[in-house]
């Protein structure tokens, strides 16, 4: 492994670890009261869906029509079958076929 690559990988690992523990640290310490009642708790309750939508929506918009149809197929499969694996497979399959069809 090259020295400069090792340095980059270790640097990436260090800052990632920092982001992984920093939230728990603030949540256990300084922010504990804020997160467990009132407005803080309501913000946290709405957070999971908001984060997922914020990851998914720009990715689908960037991917264009093929990704939008694949997303609908994937979500529809899961809503109907509750089979998560099947919906991932359907999403990947539809994305692959439509991207090829559109020459992307």
């Amino acid at each position: 492994m090259r020295g400069d690559v090792l340095l980059v990988v270790l640097g990436m690992a260090a800052v990632t670890l920092l982001t992984r523990v920093a939230g728990l640290w603030t949540g256990r310490g300084p922010l504990h009261g804020v997160l467990t009642g009132g407005l803080g708790a309501r913000l946290l309750a709405a957070l999971p869906g908001a984060v997922l939508v914020s990851i998914i929506a720009p990715a689908v918009v960037r991917g264009g029509a093929a990704d939008a149809v694949a997303a609908l197929a994937s979500a529809g499969t899961f809503a109907r079958t509750r089979n998560a694996l099947a919906s991932v497979v359907v999403g990947v399959g539809v994305a692959a076929v439509l991207r090829r069809a559109s020459g992307a």
Partner: protein, 239 residues
Amino acid sequence: MTARADAWRGARRAGALVAGDLAWGLAFGALARASGLTAAESAAMSGVVFAGTAQVAALGLWPHGGAPFPTAAIVLTTLVVNLRLVLLGASLAPSLARTPARRAYAAMWFLSDETWALAAAERARGNEAGAAFVAGSGGALWLAWVGGSVAGYAIGAAVGHPERWGLDFAATAAMLVLLVTLRRGRGDAIPWLAAGAASVAAAWLLPGSWYILIGAAVGSAAGALTAAPDASPESAHAG
């Protein structure tokens, strides 16, 4: 004993996301090979960083030929892309409040969008999702991510552009599954639409990955402001 049972439950619940991470890992391995990393460098990065979006962003900055190494730029980009993990870690803190610090922090090594969303979905089902659950689901996802990266590197030449196989879509599909799992009803419409509009606009206007943090903040605020006052704090805490 119960910790072991919780860890297994976490690993089992991770099922579909394991498949998603495997496919996404294949895509990363193939991209890493195309970007000029060695097999060991690609595997090491997946093993110790374990953050797909940040790793793909790093490959985007990887130097070609003999260009100087943009170490600071890659590390800074990794930090920005992963800032959302601070938010996710803070949101897990209330459910880990009674877990001993050493165990709670050790579980955070596995914190990712997927492990965190699995924990949220598990709590939405009315089950506990503590440190053992996070470590169990995270361990399964880590194996899939590293295994997928190694396999993707090995078959990289055959895969070519992973987008052509839709492999990069696996991550989106897995997130969609979690989103459907989290859905509580009509009350989700306003925060989710707000998050979608804000993140898409931010992705269009701003460089990098700030759009995740911006969309999450706007959607979360919209949810907090529109939630029925009686929905808090007990039901919010349970969810």
